[in-house]
Amino acid sequence: LAKTTQPISMDSYEGQEVNITCSHNNIATNDYITWYQQFPSQGPRFIIQGYKTKVTNEVASLFIPADRKSSTLSLPRVSLSDTAVYYCLVEGFQKLVFGTGTRLLVSP
């Protein structure tokens, strides 16, 4: 079974850039990488998805190196409301493998 690994927790301060890296050594050729955010008592919420190189939207950037064995979610200038658990997901045909989640704590 494919494995998706990410740090258990990270700490940051308001206004800083946060980078969360996910390792997915067994990623298949057609798999995509997706990141979700989850607040307590809620279901996860989509942040961003990519296949290779760099993808950017209004809330985050996703960096994927050429070998695609890892990916990095970048959150620019975090605020207190970004305190949440962030999940990396490797998805392909009938395949959905979530990481164990990274708990991000943003302090004032």
Binding site: N30, Y32, F46, Q49, Y87, E91, V97
Partner: protein, 116 residues
């Protein structure tokens, strides 16, 4: 506003009981999923369905079954609940994406099931 609803937020059942968890989506999505979420383990896929009456096993299907009689509704069934099935259960729906992946999944709020 898109919506995925789950029948209960909290549920307490006894060992051996048959448990039904219901999920309804109003986005006319083809794909629906059931996950369980446990501390330190993240989300693990139990079953998914890509069409009415179609189902596929995920990574941890043992002890569970599913039913999808209508497009908008996907049910998770615990035939004989056990204490190791105490968990948070999350339902999600989405449309197929490109290249075999999926588009954004929309999750329900979850059902916290306790089996005594």
């Amino acid at each position: 506003d898109v919506k995925v609803t789950q029948s209960s937020r909290y549920l307490v059942k006894r060992t051996g009981e048959k448990v039904f968890l219901e999920c309804v989506q109003d986005m006319d999505h083809e794909n629906m999923f059931w996950y369980r979420q446990d501390p330190g383990l993240g989300l693990r896929l139990i079953y998914f369905s890509y069409d009415v009456k179609m189902k596929e096993k995920g990574d941890i299907p043992e002890g569970y079954s599913v039913s999808r009689e209508k497009k908008e509704r996907f049910s998770l069934i615990l035939e004989s609940a056990s204490t190791n099935q105490t968990s948070m259960y999350l339902c999600a729906s989405t449309e197929p994406g490109t290249g075999g992946s999926y588009n954004e999944q929309f999750f329900g709020p979850g059902t916290r099931l306790t089996v005594l």
